[in-house]
Amino acid sequence: MSQFKVSEKGFYGKFGGAFIPEMLYPNVEELRTQYLSIIAELSFQEEYMYLLEQYVGRPTPLYFAKRLSEKYNTKIYLKREDLCHTGAHKVNNTIGQIILAKRLGKTRIIAETGAGQHGVATATVCALMGLKCIVYMGEIDIERQAPNVARMKMLGAEVRPATSGSKTLKDATNEAIRDWINNPTDTFYIIGSVVGPHPYPDMVAKFQSIISKEIKSQLQTQEGTEYPNYVIACVGGGSNAAGAFYEFLDDEQVGLIAVEAAGHGVDSGESAATSVLGKIGIIHGSRTLLMQTEDGQITEPYSISAGLDYPGVGPLHAHLNDIGRAEFIAITDEDAMKSGLEISKLEGIIPAIETAHAFAVLDKKQFKSTDIVVINLSGRGDKDLNTYINYFNF
């Protein structure tokens, strides 16, 4: 068995597990005992793949970025998750979880969201399936992400403000968990990243693994090999990175680079670089690296990108970092914004600011001219236009 796949008890090395209150035990246990067999059903796979192809628009292209490659003197391919319906990779996971929810007989869907991308992806599939949808979102995030709030409402979802704590993503997650405690029988919680209690990190990674499956076959067609030298992806909770790395975890010749948000700088006190600043602890039901005070209180991270602004990281990534399987690099707001502008001008693609962090690695790390480097272009930048406009004074 691969040392990178989750153990039966839900651990990746020393990280993971299900540290949940007893009130959640029946829900999580129902999911844990059934998710693998339901996902393996032929009819599940047929429905999932049909929707990914005909609704989401998969496979997404693996595009050889000629001008970018020339500039950095290496072969750069972009995995175009930005072309997915709703504008990011998030929908790969929500499609999978909504089919699962239906098969478990659930009628009410809840989700948490930070910037609103996962909320929109959840509201979208709920509309598709005709299920009631409630999205928890921090009160502060509701103010700064108004367009996504409007999108969710248009899609028929109810957006409930999280008014506790710091009123951002971690509090929205707390509120969603509380909702699940209060509604233990009819409700399914669609978590948006590879975080939370087992089996969520594994389940979400499996639904996102379509990204690396496609990279393998597309690279075979274009380069005559399934294996790039490097795969680069940004990490908040870590779902797009988990998907882009998944099929390569056991292939040690493929270098994995996880890019975290350094915010104003790792030592500035305003950062979200969990692999550097985090210590092992428990957040949202998972034992993983998290940013916290000496006394074990969870602290508020900072990044210009709302999608990387999470005080923890998925337990798979904590493990990859711990054993050195993935290299973790932290990129500041400034470098990410600069890269976002560069990709826009060089390739005609405006990336999400989360994704722009992954591109900034090209300036930090030297690649060989013969290297094949795949960057997971996890989302498009439409949602970030206001931030770009304010930052560059367009």
């Binding site: 949940i20 009130m23 029946p26 971690k170 509090d171 949202h284």
Partner: protein, 253 residues
């Protein structure tokens, strides 16, 4: 014998009160405990505040946030409680989430509790399986009773497992809800209380969540050994001086 087990043998219905340490004021901890004991409360749950208390509703979360802002820490709580056994006889339980205990060091935490005279721990996010595989021996070494929760959704099989592992009381969550989120018990809950009572578990049960007055206390203790009040007491203490605690307790019994 552990003070909790002794107390459970008394021929009366037990009233247990939860409060958040460091709230409303940082140094209220010891005076609140004194006043609760003086008022005839049977057990006290001292809440170690946590930034992200998943199983709690807004009242306890807000009191926790305030307590942390006031400067409450694990170390300080232990310091405040250092001499508590010189004056207080009733069982004292620390209730908190697992992360602050992990950061303090689980063994060191248990050792400190033992030195002070804490009798048990309630840790909502430390599940049975993790407790058994990693921590049971440590808790037992320091004579700390670990109190597990059950809910209306907990299967009989799991209740039996929890009962076999427990050695004090079982914390019965009254309703599928976070703390402080309801008023009054209906037929459904009364049936659940009776159903659990009829299981004839070896551990007595104490009901928490949703008890806030004499009526709900009586309902909760009709079939069970005792009841725990948390959010209602936090609300009281937010608006009343500590020396009025006796009135709150009198209205419950």
């Amino acid at each position: 014998m552990n003070r909790i087990n002794q107390k459970l043998q008394e021929n009366k219905k037990l009233l247990s009160i939860y409060f958040t340490a460091g709230y409303p004021n940082l140094n209220d901890t010891v005076s609140i405990i004194h006043e609760l004991e003086k008022s005839g409360v049977d057990m006290i749950e001292i809440g170690l505040p946590f930034s992200d208390p998943l199983a709690d509703g807004p009242t306890i979360q807000e009191s926790s946030t305030q307590a942390i802002e006031n400067g409450m820490t694990t170390k300080l709580l232990f310091k405040q409680l250092a001499d508590i056994r010189k004056t207080v006889q009733i069982p004292l339980i620390i209730m908190g989430y697992f992360n602050p205990m992990m950061q303090f060091g689980v063994e060191k935490f248990c050792q400190k509790c033992n030195e002070i005279g804490i009798d048990g721990l309630i840790i909502p996010d430390l599940p049975l399986e993790e407790y058994l595989s990693e921590y049971q021996s440590i808790f037992e070494k320091y004579n700390l009773k670990n109190v597990f929760l059950i809910t209306p959704q907990t299967s009989n099989e799991r209740i039996a497992e929890i009962d076999s592992v427990s050695d004090s009381f079982i914390y019965m969550v009254s309703t599928a809800a976070v703390t402080g989120s309801q008023s009054g018990f209906g037929n459904e809950q009364m049936h659940y209380f009776e159903r659990i009572s009829n299981l004839n578990l070896k551990n007595p049960q104490v009901i928490g969540f949703g008890i806030n007055n004499n009526e709900t206390f009586k309902q909760a203790t009709l079939h069970q050994k005792g009841a725990i009040i948390g959010s209602a007491f936090i609300k009281f203490i937010a608006n009343n001086p500590i020396d009025k605690i006796g009135e709150f307790v009198k209205n419950i019994r």
